[in-house]
């Protein structure tokens, strides 16, 4: 009997290599010098610039753009990286449309802000390409700090501490440093192994040792670190994935989006990654968009996103939502899965319509339709793995910190996604790490 045309189907190599290479090339190609000069000329050099206020790391944006205008690219990069050592990655992944570019005064009379993200990339790319040294370490303090986690918060904290003269050991549970920059960002946003090149640049300042494949709790305890070091910074992110909380959520084929995104990033040949013919993504954040668009670009025929609320409530920015749509991903709003089952390789997902009750709470109606797909990705957020955090105060599953990112436990600071107020943004994590490092330095020098 001939195979029916529509059947369960998960396989690698749906597209040929040229198509995959093209689909995973740079989402926002860099500006040429001519383009950058014209883009820079559009900056009004505002006083007390709203874009700088909107930047979580407070980069002097008109300042770095002015330096692009005068061809002082190295100075421009220094202005950026002084505040945000991951200014290279942030230039690629920051949702500028809701941060600096949203604040641009150009919006008042026209719809096009200054291309701040692309200009930031223009200024910083040569630094990483040429490994240009921009920062010196202060005189060695003799103090040692343990940083747990090698993501944006941990690396930012480590770099600043190293600059300030301290010696740092980073404990990284993964085999490569970089955290979500290495494992969690869509491949077309950071091509050419940029995440590792950026890590190499950060580490090149010296005074930072990275120990990979060491997990807090399992391989080293917080108590040990507090014993061995003068201070500890926790930048451990959110290591676990939220559950759908419905029946059938544990069946094979219902997968974590972040695992798939990580596998995609680590795959030497993306064509070897199995991809389903019909994909359903559950969630409304950047991760949902990333896994949906990448599935499509790997050759999935039909990709749907189900989100339990409307477009305005999505964690993904408007730009990201449009990116999904222009990649032929359909977003089903006000829909949530209520049951999942699997038969003959096909997964049936019962999606119920939701609505806002008069009390403002989301209610699930009994208007249910069943969708047949080959794979379901969960992208409904991550949660803290609290192994080994004894003595650290938590609230709502996150670490409680003060304005200086100090935890309730003495000589322990924390930042990034793992703390209360963490924003799931590289740029915010970098700022947390930077502020914490300055506070740690102050504490070490006074104590």
């Amino acid at each position: 009997m001939a195979k029916p045309e529509f059947t369960a189907d998960i396989r690698a190599g749906r597209l040929d290599k040229a198509d995959i290479d093209n689909n995973f090339s740079d989402l926002h190609p860099p500006l040429s010098r001519a383009e950058a000069l014209i883009a820079a000329d559009r900056c009004y050099f505002c006083y007390d610039a709203p874009c700088t206020t909107a930047c979580p790391t407070g980069i002097d944006i008109p300042g770095f753009i002015q330096k692009i205008r005068s061809d002082n690219i190295r100075g421009s990069a220094q202005t950026i990286l002084r505040e945000n050592i991951m200014g290279g990655m942030c230039a690629r992944v920051c949702p500028t449309e809701i941060l600096c570019e949203d604040a641009c005064v150009r919006h008042t009379h026209e719809d096009k802000p200054v291309d701040i993200g692309l200009l930031q990339r223009y200024a910083t790319d040569p630094i990483f390409e040429n490994n240009t040294k921009l920062f010196e370490r202060a005189q060695r303090s003799g103090r040692r700090v343990a940083v747990v986690g090698a993501g944006p918060a941990g690396l930012s904290c480590a770099h600043r501490l190293a600059m300030l003269g301290h010696d740092v050991v980073i404990y990284n549970r993964n085999s490569k440093p970089g955290g979500l920059n290495e494992y969690g960002i869509a491949a077309y946003k950071t091509v050419d192994n940029f995440a590792q090149r950026e890590v190499d640049y950060i580490l090149s300042i010296g005074g930072i040792e990275v120990r990979n494949n060491v997990a807090l709790g399992a391989d080293v305890t917080l108590a040990e670190l507090r014993d061995q070091y003068d201070a500890v910074f926790l930048g451990i992110g959110l290591g676990a994935v939220n559950d759908l909380g419905i029946s059938g959520a544990d069946i094979v084929g219902v997968e974590n989006a972040i695992d798939y995104i990580a596998a995609l990033r680590q795959a030497a040949d993306k064509g070897t990654l199995p991809v389903a013919r019909r994909v359903l993504v559950v969630g409304g954040g950047m991760t949902a968009i990333d896994v949906a668009v990448q599935s499509k670009r790997l050759g999935a025929e039909q990709v749907l996103i189900a989100y339990r609320r409307g477009p305005k409530e999505m964690g993904a920015s408007e730009f990201e939502q449009q990116l999904a749509q222009t990649n032929n991903v359909s977003i089903l709003h006000w829909m949530t899965p209520v049951a999942v089952s699997k038969q003959d390789g096909t997964i049936s997902v019962a999606l119920a319509r939701t609505r806002l009750g008069s009390d403002g709470r989301l209610t699930i109606t009994d208007d249910v339709q069943t969708l047949q797909v080959d794979m379901v990705f969960k992208a409904i957020g991550q949660k803290l793995v609290d192994d080994g955090l004894q003595g650290v105060a938590l609230q709502g599953g996150r670490i409680v910190v003060d304005d200086n990112f100090a935890t309730a436990l003495g000589r322990v600071w924390a930042g990034g996604d793992c703390v209360v107020g963490g924003e799931d943004l590289t740029v915010s994590a970098v700022q947390h790490g930077k502020v914490a490092a300055i506070a740690i330095d102050r504490s070490l020098r006074s104590g």
């Binding site: 000329d41 050099f45 505002c46 006083y47 007390d48 008042t108």
Partner: protein, 433 residues
Amino acid sequence: MADLKSEFLGIRSPNPFWLASAPPTDKAYNVNRAFEAGWGGVVWKTLGEDPPIVNVNGPRYSALHSNERRVIGFNNIELITDRPLKTNLDEIRQIKRDWPDRAVVASVMLPMNEAVWKKIVPMIEDTGADAFELNFGCPHGMSERGMGAAVGQVPEYIQMATEWCKQAATVPVIVKLTPNVTNIVPPAKAAQAGGADAVSLINTINSIMRVDYDTLTMFPTTDGMGTHGGYCGEAVKPIALNMVAEIARNKDTRGLPISGIGGITDWRDAVDFLALGASNVQVCTAAMVYGFKIIDDLTDGLSMFLDDKGMRSVAELVGKAVPSVTDWQYLNLNHVSKAVIDQDLCIKCGRCHIVCEDTSHQAITHTVNGQRRFEVIDDECVGCNLCVSVCPVDNCITMQPMTDGIDARTGKAISRTKANWTTHPNNPMRKAD
């Protein structure tokens, strides 16, 4: 439609736009193309004695660019024509025959030797050229040999050479002035005294564009060495306008016809020159940057403008703004203007605030009731126009004259009586009321 037909010293042209004496008018090929494009006239690239001069075989031009590579200023070290005189004369003769309705003026530069002028001027006039323009302006190269600006900087030389030319010529003589002087009026008077029928100005301004940041030599160079050139283009227009107005309003030179030159790029620039006293205009840099096609905007824009103003001819516009130009001492010191920011147009960039705060009179807020808001503080505003100048939004900040009430800055009542420095109590040289 307004009639753009122009008559300058009796020379008719279909519009008041002539190509200035420069590379665009170097030879018949270019001039034919210019006339086909619609230019009203040309001043032929400056003729000199045989054997012709030679030019460098390296960079003759360089530019001051905006970041969009728009040419704002332009520099050249090209000399006068480097072709034999006969070649030029033959071509001028043919061009005048082929284009009888266009103005063809011969620019000349000759040494300070009467016999040479008396010999060459009639040869040129024999081509049928409509007039002479005496190049007393080029500031580079030729000036080292006692010609060009070297003549234009000495009024006695201007007068002498103008007289020689007038004696030898029957057609009108225009004297082209150099701006490389401290006061443009004495050279204009000298030309007038020598019998010039008109002056044209400005020629180019001494300039070095920049250095080469790699070699730390001047830029550009000819095999490692450079020399100053003549600066022109949009950037020089305000300098040219002042000089034109100075001649137009001076009691001695008033009425001397002026051909306006200096950075004219679009029709509004032409309006500037005409309103400040020029009877026609000459263009070079804009054509060298964009080609001859810009004549379409120049003529069309000027014609539309005249229609909007209810003027039927260019002549009605000439000199219209001259009475508004005066000396500082005659400005009304009782007049008070205050800047007003239109909050609906304001984009809150804060440029007005920071320039006023840092460099002027601390007269613009940045925060009002805790909100980012830029408002003029009348108690401090002197009406300097700096905020208007730097605001990126057209018409967002305007200067509003006060007609009554009290000036919050000085506490004095606004007076409608005019009073100027000549009678001001602080002026030790004041005249009695």
